[in-house]
Amino acid sequence: MRKPGKKKLIQIYKKMVTIRKVEEKLMEVFSTGEIPGFIHVCIGQEATPVAVCSWLKDSDYMSTTHRGHGHALAKGIDLNLFMAELFGKSAGYCRGRSGSMHIADPKTGILGANGIVGGGIPIATGAAFASQYKKSGQVTVCFFGEGATNEGTFHESLNIASIRKLPIVYVCENNGWAEFTPQKTHMPIKKVADRARAYDMPGAVVPNDILKIYEKAGEAVERARKGQGPTLLEIKSTRWHGHFVGDAQKYRLEKEVAAAKKKDCIADFEKKLLKDKTLRKAEIKKIADMVNQRIEGAVDFARKSPLPDQSELMDDLYV
């Protein structure tokens, strides 16, 4: 059951490639100044969002962080409206009010990226509380980094989720860095998953391998769906680029970055799919072309959308 079939494998691959290419495009466009503010890319970490969200329906909930493009795309956000929001345009999901750091889409269950580290964890927990109360069978997935597990809200939320056996999966993408500081400066333990025991919650460490994450996430989502309570998954992930686009990460050793880039969850998966004959080189090329075309279309859409009008400034603060 936890092994994806061919169709699913291709779907997963396409999503991973989409996320990678969207963010490569974002880095390019951002550097020209077309996108205002800050953006944080998840290049190197694509396996987690795709593997986890493969188990979710549109009606399931998801909350994410400043580094949330991958999660939103994996959960099913519309690429055009997503791109328009990052450009700050009025066709964007949030009318240009949120940008990258707060994008949300209730139609696909995206409760929002969050600019506050740890801020989304209680919100996701509340979503799980709502669906438990409504007996709707919905599951919530809550993404965050290892740095966020040092915030009080992590602790308080996991405690609450465990007591109430809420249908939620906490997914910590441990990329080893919180901004410019490595995990060992901030945390006396190596495995974030060990924190699960403090809440009598199952915790598991998973390598940055799409199929392994897929399997563990499947178990955790099923557990949540069945009303058996929350799980904490820690993915040993890896951040290729700086904390935000523009951060040259001088604080990292070149060889550490090179090693991170060698552990490429997409290339690894691609090799496997080729070896398996699930995909051939030509198909891979076709996927890349198709993805690139969609991205160009989205950037075009974003560019053409107008900026919000000043007259909208005071709109809809209250219902």
Binding site: I123, G126, A130
Partner: protein, 325 residues
């Protein structure tokens, strides 16, 4: 009509709204079988069970964030923060999440959360259990802030707050919990955003917040002996406040005193004063006086000397009467 205490009026409002709408849930510390630290939820657990009366760990930051998520997903949470002083722990959930979710996400969500909390001194509960911090929340776009002073208003406003689709900081006064007053037997609501003239008068407008309404009414009696007839307005909603009623009254009396229990400096009174002198300065025949607490934490045993009272309101009113243009 029936007699009821302020705390039971709160209890009735929650109960009636929970009976009416099963999306309403109550979240807080000790709100379950114990019925809440001050008794506001007494009996509700038996009626509505642990699913709807969510007795939480001591985790204020998580429970406000949790309420935000639950509200975004269709529930209508009422959160009880046991003392207003503990709102310091959950400012992020209230200010960065709950208050901003609607606007920031392009109006895609409704966030109908009511955060109930008792403020104020009078119980010698000391510097960390007696504060009135409404000015903070009034400064935050996206929140509404309500502060009722009577059993009638607390019930009617709480029902309105629970039905409102916007987040509301609902500030009770713990020294009023035992206060008795009459309320209708039948269902009623009090609108958010409207001030209430608790006593009409002609000489000076006194805008009072929460417990200062009662002190102002006392002051009114004292002043009547000197032939001074003040108008006492209960502000009720701090944000958005009722400019029409207050400006109308000032246009009649040409004198204004504002009284609240919170620290005077940078308090709610400052905004009302500033708005008046920005918009209707010409109506004023005297300086605008503010009555508020002195600029120190609330000391445990000097509480009486600390808390603003009727005498200070009397003095402020008299000060505004010193001069005639």
């Amino acid at each position: 009509m029936k007699e009821i205490r302020y705390i039971w009026a709160i209890n009735e409002a929650i109960k009636e709204e929970m009976e009416r709408d099963d999306k309403v849930v109550l979240i807080g510390e000790d709100v379950g079988t114990p019925g809440g630290s001050f008794g506001a939820s007494r009996g509700l657990y038996d009626l509505f069970g642990p699913e709807r009366i969510f007795d939480t760990p001591i985790s204020e930051a998580a429970i406000t964030g949790l309420a935000a998520g639950a509200a975004a997903c269709g529930l209508r949470p009422i959160v009880e923060i046991m003392f207003m002083d503990f709102m310091t722990i959950c400012m992020d959930g209230i200010v960065n999440q709950i208050a901003k979710m609607r606007y920031m996400f392009g109006s895609q969500f409704k966030v109908p959360v009511v955060i109930r909390t008792p403020s104020g001194g009078g119980l010698n509960a000391g510097p960390q259990h007696s504060q009135s911090l409404e000015a903070w929340f009034a400064h935050v776009p996206g929140l509404k802030v309500v502060m009722p002073a009577t059993p009638y208003d607390v019930k009617g406003l709480l029902k309105s707050a629970i039905r409102d689709d916007n987040p509301i900081v609902f500030i009770e006064h713990k020294a009023l919990h035992a206060l008795k007053g009459s309320i209708p037997e039948k269902e009623y609501r009090v609108p958010i955003g409207k001030a209430d003239i608790k006593k009409e008068g002609t000489d000076v407008t006194v805008v009072a917040v929460s417990k200062m309404v009662h002190e102002s009414l006392k002051a009114s009696e004292i002043l009547a002996q000197d032939g001074i007839n003040i108008e006492v307005i209960d502000l009720l909603t701090i944000s958005p406040w009722d400019r029409e009623t207050i400006f109308g009254s000032v246009a009649k009396t040409h004198r204004l005193v504002i009284a609240h229990e919170a620290v005077k400096n940078f308090g709610v009174g400052a905004e009302i004063s500033a708005a008046v002198s920005e918009e209707i300065l010409d109506e004023l025949d005297a300086p605008i006086m503010r009555v508020g607490a002195p600029f120190v934490p609330i000391p445990f045993s000097l509480e009486k000397a600390y808390l603003p009272n009727a005498d200070q309101i009397v003095a402020a009113v008299k000060k505004t009467m010193e001069r005639t243009f």
